[in-house]
């Protein structure tokens, strides 16, 4: 029963930079903990706040949004919008009783496989420190299963 807590992290990666970066990490065999579940979106700007709350509701311990570097966005400025939203969202999370560190917004380019791996490593460690998401308990209690 004393099995170590392994957080589940949902990651939204933009198709053009971060998803490619994650590919590069794999291709280069850069190892990182298997706690991340990746959802591919065309642009980090696509990530609707609703998705993030849905993720936490569904029992995620953390959410990672990763897009192109400022200025590199394939869609001009989608990533800016994400960033701006991010600040707001973190405040909201707090009101929901979730530590803002559970939401992380990153810029990872197609050539930054190493950075991607590092980000995931770091985030997993941070969230291990925070422990399971308070929402998660409820999710499991209610035996919530979405399918």
């Amino acid at each position: 029963m004393t099995e170590e807590f392994e957080p589940k992290i949902v990651g939204f990666l933009c198709n053009w930079c971060s998803y490619a970066g994650a590919d590069l990490a794999g291709v280069s065999r850069i190892q990182y903990p298997p706690n991340l579940r990746i959802i591919r979106v065309m642009c980090s700007g696509r990530v609707d706040p609703a998705f993030i709350f849905e993720a936490f509701r569904s029992g995620a311990d953390g959410v990672l949004i990763s897009g192109c570097h400022p200025g590199d966005c394939h869609y001009i400025a989608g990533n800016y919008k994400t960033q701006r939203r991010g600040i707001l969202l973190k405040k909201l999370l707090e009101q929901f009783g979730l530590e803002p560190q559970r939401l992380r917004i990153e810029f990872v380019s197609a050539s930054e496989g190493a950075k991607f791996a590092a980000v995931v490593k770091e985030m997993v460690e941070d969230i291990k420190k925070l422990g399971p998401s308070p929402l998660k308990a409820r999710v499991e209690a209610e035996g919530l299963v979405y399918a």
Partner: protein, 576 residues
């Protein structure tokens, strides 16, 4: 949309990819798990799903189990999605009813030593794919026209070669050079290895050919100010220094902006002693016949390249350039002793080693040094320089009284490249050079359709290699322009007019002005201009009423994935 109405019948094909996946993830276990997932009517594993027999298996299964959704769990969609989509289409399935689960790059390769957890993760990834696949809809791709004219940015040898080759294929070419003259780096060079042709002479022919070619418009002292649009339909604004601008309709864009040379200020007494110069400065002296007879010349390679940190890359051209110039010096002044301090000689290919042997014939003295113990250059007696060398292969300290020290410094990216990369939305690598779509198999194109790269903008190269690449882009860029029409991804925004409140947020956030407002029965709603929409989905994310979604990345598809993500595989049981 027939298929969408009937209940989903999903087939899941899980790839071992030899041992790439199978060596880490327990594939059969994942297959069994997939079978338990909602709407999955068939699941199997293949040694290589992408092999032609793997693809046949998919087609057979579609027919046999009358699948209306297909999932392949293997590698990244960025390389393999087109292949599997095409396969589905051959089996009569709309290609947007295909979904890919990346259990290699994102799983087996990233967690090679955690077989258990990698297998769990693979199951989750498949589950997420299923969750999305159940909600997939067929789509029809809009067709677009391709303007048969190319923009070549950079008037160096690469740019000119590409321009000429495209022009000869009957495409219109706009060649943009920021300098007042065409020629780029070659304008600084004296002789070109391996043939020892005269640089300015060869360059002359090219400039003449370019200028006299009716299909090529040359814009010198001009920069690209702005680029809008997409493959086949770029809108490009050029700016001539005297502030007049030109607007062009462009089908494809070729980046041939070249590179510049690193200035080794503060290294080996450069900038301190005037007889410490760069290889490029020596090239100039030789070109102008201004090199006074030195008694002893010391050439130092890898100055500011192949460093521990920072500029880690090898600049490729320096060894040969230095060899060439060392030989030219010996031909000019046979009594002059030339010391060649190198780390690893980059005399590759079928011709360059031969030059190395020639240099040995000419009595050039080769001494290897190592990164840990670089040579030192200090002021010596009567204006000479004292070079203290640690001969790495004799473990001896050698002192050379030299009157000319030549530093081989690497090619580096131009300062303004960042600007261009932002303008074109194409990435730069960690080395500062433009980063191609795929290092192995897409060496001269970007992930973004219709934009290509060649020459030293991509990485250090010599003339011959730049020319080779220039021909390559001329082929890649010609393909869409020759086809004239293209199908584009159907991933565009979709407005639910009933939900739309006409708040205009979407109109404001769209960078492509792909959304305009329309009056319908006295109600203001937003309308998507498909040709302009790129499908980023920013509008969808910012729509307060959730009236906008994206084709193939709909809210409910993504939310389904979101919900499926955090669950623990073993908890999931098949039900709706």
């Amino acid at each position: 949309m027939e298929q969408s109405k009937e209940t989903p019948r999903i087939g899941v094909f899980i790839c071992h990819c030899g041992v790439n996946i199978g060596g880490v993830v327990k594939v059969p276990e994942v297959v069994e798990y997939a079978k338990t997932l909602p709407d999955v009517v068939y699941a199997e594993d293949n040694l290589y799903t992408c092999s032609s027999d793997g693809l046949n298996k998919i087609k057979e299964a579609i027919a046999k189990y009358n699948l209306n959704r297909v999932i392949v769990a293997s590698c990244t969609p960025r390389t393999h999605e087109p292949l599997f989509r095409a396969t589905c289409e051959e089996a009569g399935l709309n290609k947007y009813l295909f979904e890919m689960a990346n259990i290699r790059e994102h799983c087996s390769w990233a967690h090679m030593h955690e077989h258990e957890r990698a297998t769990e993760k693979a199951k989750d990834i498949v589950r997420m794919a299923v969750a999305k696949a159940r909600l997939l809809q067929p789509q029809t791709e809009p067709e677009i026209d391709v303007t048969p004219s190319a923009l070549v940015i950079g008037g160096g040898i690469s740019g000119m070669t590409a321009a000429l080759c495209l022009a000869d294929q009957d495409f219109k070419v706009s060649l943009v050079e920021k300098e007042p003259e065409l020629g780029g780096m070659l304008r600084n060079l004296h002789k070109l290895y391996p043939t020892m042709q005269d640089a300015s002479e060869s360059l002359g022919h090219f400039v003449k050919a370019v200028k006299s070619n009716k299909s090529i418009d040359v814009f010198t002292s001009t920069v690209v100010k702005d680029v809008k649009g997409f493959i086949g339909n770029f809108k490009v604004t050029l700016q001539k220094e005297n502030s007049e601008t030109a607007n062009l309709d462009i089908g494809t864009i070729i980046v041939a902006t070249g590179a510049t040379i690193f200035e080794p200020v503060g290294m080996y007494g450069y900038g301190e002693h005037e007889n410490v110069i760069t290889q490029l400065q020596l090239e100039h002296l030789l070109k102008e016949g201004q090199l006074k007879k030195p008694e002893k010349v010391v050439m130092i390679q890898c100055v500011g390249s192949r460093e521990e940190k920072g500029r880690t890359y090898c600049s490729r051209v320096c060894c040969m350039t230095a060899l060439k110039n060392a030989m030219l010096i010996r031909e000019l002044y046979p009594e002059t002793e030339v010391y060649f301090l190198y780390r690893d000689l980059q005399t590759y290919g079928q011709r360059y080693e031969h030059h190395h042997r020639e240099a040995q014939d000419k009595g050039i003295r080769f001494i290897k040094y190592v990164l840990e113990k670089p040579p030192e250059v200090v002021a010596g007696k009567n204006g000479k320089l004292e070079v203290n060398i640690h001969h790495a292969l004799l473990n001896e300290q050698i002192k050379v009284e030299s009157d000319l020290v030549v530093l081989s410094t690497p090619l580096i990216q131009h300062e303004d490249a960042k600007e261009l990369s932002k303008m074109l939305k194409v990435p730069l690598g960690s080395d500062g050079f433009f980063f191609e779509a795929h290092v192995k198999l897409r060496p001269v194109e970007f992930a973004t359709d219709g934009i290509y790269v060649c020459g030293t903008a991509h990485s250090p190269k010599d003339t011959a290699e730049s020319v080779s690449q220039a021909f390559a882009v001329a082929s890649r860029a010609a393909i869409p322009m020759a086809l004239k029409r293209l199908r584009t991804e159907a991933i565009t925004a979709l407005v639910d007019e009933d939900l739309c409140s006409g708040c205009r947020v979407c109109e404001a956030v769209c960078e492509y002005s792909a959304i305009e407002m329309q009056e319908k029965e006295g109600k203001l709603t937003s309308k998507v201009l498909e040709a302009l929409c790129k499908g980023c989905g920013t509008c969808g994310a910012s729509c307060p009423t959730g009236a906008i979604t994206m084709r193939h990345f709909t809210d409910n598809q993504l939310i389904a994935q979101v919900r499926a993500a955090p669950q623990v595989a073993k908890e999931v049981t098949k039900h709706d």
